[in-house]
Amino acid sequence: MDLSHDWKSLNEVLFCQKGLAKHAPTLVALEDGKKIFDAVLSTGQPYSDRLAARDTIGELSLKYGVEQTVSFAKKELDQIVADAASLGTNYFQQLEYVRSKVYKHVNKPSEIRISRDHFILRFFSGKMASLLPRRFNVLVFLDQRPSFSSTLLAFEHRAILLTFDRGKLDQFFEPDFSSLHEQRLPEWLLDPVAIGKYLESRYILPCYGIFMLQSDWDQCVTGDDPWSVVISALDDHRAAIYPRTGLVKTLIAFQRISGYLSGFRR
């Protein structure tokens, strides 16, 4: 496997192919001169009024029953796409680039919520980036069995390695565990250090890892407070992290306190 930007795995592991949170129904229209060239609806309804006059955008909003409508010029989008293509093969980065540029052009950016957001990506590319090395890997390891067992029986897993460079997601691919002893993976809960160290020597980069059961991970992805799910799984010995350094322990304590405070506020 030689993909450094495995878009399919990124979606399958990180976002679990889950449907998106439902936002206010939105119509995004693409203008070309005085016409609406094409449009897309957040609800998945097919848009069928190609080349409608730009002035009719209000009527179209009513017709398709949307609560918010935004529009921008096709010419600008074409230029953004051309620029995004020059970024290489990282579709995540390309889409991020297109998003950031499109936001500047849409009429009411504050009303559009973009949810291509993940607590892991947010955490490692946010303020934390200044405390972490310039370049490092993050392993997300998911055990697909209903509960942990150290045997190889029915063991299946999904994993993705995210490479961050200066706080930006640079590469994402399935890690190569082929040289690791076959017993190490099913025993991830007992010895996550072995897996973490293996990846550090394999990819010659510092590695941070989060090991969980798929069922817990699903809750993290769909729930409002993913860190509380992670903390509770750690407390119940259903999850593991690597490395257990002082910094990581402090961060966990911080997440624990903030989770407690937000629960208290609720």
Binding site: M1, D2, L3, S4, H5, D6, W7, K8, N11, E12, Q17, G19, L20, T26, V28, L30, D32, F37, D38, V40, L41, S42, T43, G44, Q45, P46, Y47, S48, K74, L77, D78, V81, A82, A84, A85, G88, T89, N90, Y91, Q94, L95, V98, R99, V102, I112, I114, S115, R116, E174, D176, S178
Partner: protein, 634 residues
């Protein structure tokens, strides 16, 4: 279960089977024919190939398919392809290898080597001179032009490498019959930017200008040296016919690329069965490109309706639908995904789905799918498209006439880029040649040859003041018409009908289709009337219709017994639809049993039936003709 590579769809029999005996190709397993179960071998560790393929074999898969990403083959230091083929032999599976680049394959730049894309001269551009981009996953990239010498040369080397890998494996296992090469139309479906009309489809890069000029000189070179012929040939190269000639050229270079690809795999050491198909990925189609991009950017729900429309259009063009998993299609839920898979099978007869994708769907759906394929196989049902529209390329139809035609006989039309007998199907009744065609001797001769086999062929007449026939074609036409007394009709458009052996030839006046003066409404009405009369002449009847236009009706007919039919009611919306299915005569209708054995519902008779089509649902019904005169509502 017997294995086969042959497509059951008689409308596309452009298969070149070399190296396999016809006995081996006997068609039986409709599931294996209809489903290209794709394995992305480059995503799997070579040590796991055998386990993966054994797992598929246990699921009753007999044929696995794989795209060969161009860049991966070039840099395959682990010999993955060879190992994959060996594993397939060990698992006793047949392999279909798609050797042409396809959009949507989960490999950077869909497998196109990135070095090629850094040189602007290698890139495809649209009619406006803008680079054509692929917006779909796995990344946004500029598409290469197959007219570029550098691209062609490197592509040739890639094919040779694939050939040599195959040769080594064939020699090792002493057999090549387990392998089939699929040659597709590759990127030619996507050479257009969204928003540009179909007529502007194609790669207009500078690389093909010289080749295009050579092509024109070759195509319009009359055998006679008469001044009139030379002048007319020069006229055909002029601006007026530029669009037509370009499309013929696109068809020509696509054909040339296929032929050159064939040559690599007909060499002695890598000789195996070759099949030609057209592959179409709806999420990468020009019509869907901005939709897909905006869906990704804003994290929206993809429009099943738009994807469905693309599949229907792919069906007209006789394309195999490839439903990838890495792009916007991954956002669909299981119901939507199952629906699109079913719709693709029904409209196109063949679909490519990743193995993980298919087997992730519910066992109930998989069982029903197998049941449906078995039911189709049992009676040898086929999708019949009795009307063929012939134009310079699959995208160059005269918009008004094609639009009207597809409304008059929905889902019964196919588009073809040539009149040759190779692509003729038995059930084809009416062949309409595009009014903006330049009729050369070869086209005229082909049309007459097709007509004499019992079909009705419509061709434009020579026009006054505007050359649309070559001199030798005019001479041949005069010879044909001499001494014949045609039936002259004026219905929207004037035309002449000639009986010719078993069939008929219709020559119609194409002036209206060139005229810009005619008002839209007038011309639409006239064209509609003309097409209706042709459909009537060919006795093409719409077997039944739905009262709700949102419900699509697709007809399959048993090859051996045309009185037995299958009707699929397809609802591409997210709402249940109550509709009335109307037949011209009394028939018996029974739901098609795709579930348990012995589950055979009793048919009910009538002429009109009230039905409920579930949301994103496909309702298969068996229809039996009965001589009854009684009508009624069931």
């Amino acid at each position: 279960m017997n294995e086969s590579f042959e497509r059951i769809n008689a409308t596309r029999q452009n298969k070149t089977a070399s190296g396999l005996s016809s006995a081996k190709l006997k068609e039986k397993d409709r599931f294996a024919q209809a489903f290209n179960i794709l394995v992305n071998y480059w995503e799997i560790k070579p040590s796991l190939y055998e386990a993966k393929l054994q797992e598929l074999a246990l699921r009753d898969v007999r044929v696995v398919s794989a795209f060969l990403p161009w860049a991966h083959v070039e840099t395959d230091i682990y010999h993955s392809l060879k190992k994959f083929l060996r594993a397939a032999v060990a698992a006793r599976l047949r392999v279909r290898l798609f050797v042409m680049p396809e959009l949507g394959v989960n490999y950077p730049n869909a497998g196109v080597p990135k070095e090629l894309l850094t040189n602007h001269a290698n890139l495809a551009v649209n009619r406006l001179g803008q680079v054509i981009y692929s917006f779909a996953a796995p990344n946004i990239f500029s598409m290469p032009s197959f007219a570029s010498t550098e691209v062609l040369k490197r592509f040739g080397n890639y094919l040779l490498k694939v050939g040599s890998v195959l040769g080594e494996v064939f020699e090792e296992v002493g057999d090549s019959s387990f392998c089939e090469i699929v040659v597709s139309n590759s990127l030619f479906n996507y050479y257009r930017s969204f928003g540009m009309p179909n007529a502007d489809h194609g790669d207009y890069s500078a690389a093909h200008v010289m080749a295009f000029r050579d092509f024109l000189d070759r195509e319009y070179k009359s055998n006679t040296s008469s001044a009139e012929a030379v002048q007319r040939d020069e006229e055909f190269k002029m601006q007026l016919y530029e669009g037509y000639n370009r499309h013929r050229f696109f068809t020509h270079i696509e054909k040339l690329l296929r032929e050159k690809t064939d040559m690599v795999f007909s060499r002695k050491n890598s000789n195996c069965a070759i099949r030609h198909i057209d592959v179409f990925n709806p999420e990468a189609s020009p019509e869907f490109s901005y939709q897909g991009l905006l869906t990704e950017v804003f994290d929206f729900q993809p429009s099943v309706g738009r994807l469905f429309d693309s599949i229907v259009r792919g069906g007209y063009r006789g394309e195999t639908i490839f439903l990838g998993r890495s792009g916007v299609l991954r956002r669909l839920n299981d119901q939507e995904r199952s629906f699109l898979i079913l719709a693709s099978v029904i409209y196109s007869g063949e679909v490519g789905v990743e193995s993980e994708d298919l087997f992730k769907l519910s066992p109930n759906f998989q069982r029903k799918l197998r049941g449906l394929m078995n039911a189709i196989e049992e009676r040898d049902y086929e999708l019949q498209r009795p009307v063929t529209y012939v134009s310079a390329s699959k995208f160059s139809m005269e918009e008004r006439s094609f639009e009207r035609l597809s409304k008059l006989v929905p889902d019964m039309v196919s588009v073809k880029a040539d009149l040759s007998a190779r692509s003729r199907a038995l059930h084809e009744r009416l062949i309409i040649t595009d009014p903006r065609t330049i009729v050369r001797l070869v086209e005229l001769v082909q049309a007459l040859a097709v007509a004499q086999t019992g079909k009705i062929v419509a061709l434009p007449l020579p026009m006054k003041g505007l050359s649309n026939y070559t001199v030798d074609a005019v001479a041949q036409l005069d010879k044909f018409r001499k001494g014949k007394d045609p039936l002259r009709i004026q219905l929207g458009v004037g035309y002449e009908v000639y009986d010719y052996q078993l069939g008929q030839v219709v020559f119609y006046d194409p002036t209206l289709f060139w005229s810009l003066a005619a008002t839209e409404e007038d011309s639409h009405e006239a064209i509609s009337m003309f097409l209706q009369s042709l459909i009537g002449l060919a006795e093409v009847k719409v077997p039944c219709s739905s009262s709700d236009p949102r419900v699509n009706v697709v007809h399959y007919v048993a090859k051996e017994d045309s009185a037995r039919r299958l009707v699929f009611l397809i609802n591409p919306t997210h709402n249940e639809i109550h509709t009335r299915l109307n037949f011209p005569n009394s028939v018996q209708v029974a739901p098609l049993a795709t579930g348990n054995l012995g589950d055979s519902p009793q048919p009910i008779g009538g002429q009109s039936f009230e039905l409920r089509v579930p949301a994103l649902g496909v309702l298969p019904m068996q229809i039996f003709d009965i001589p009854s005169v009684e009508g009624g509502t069931a």
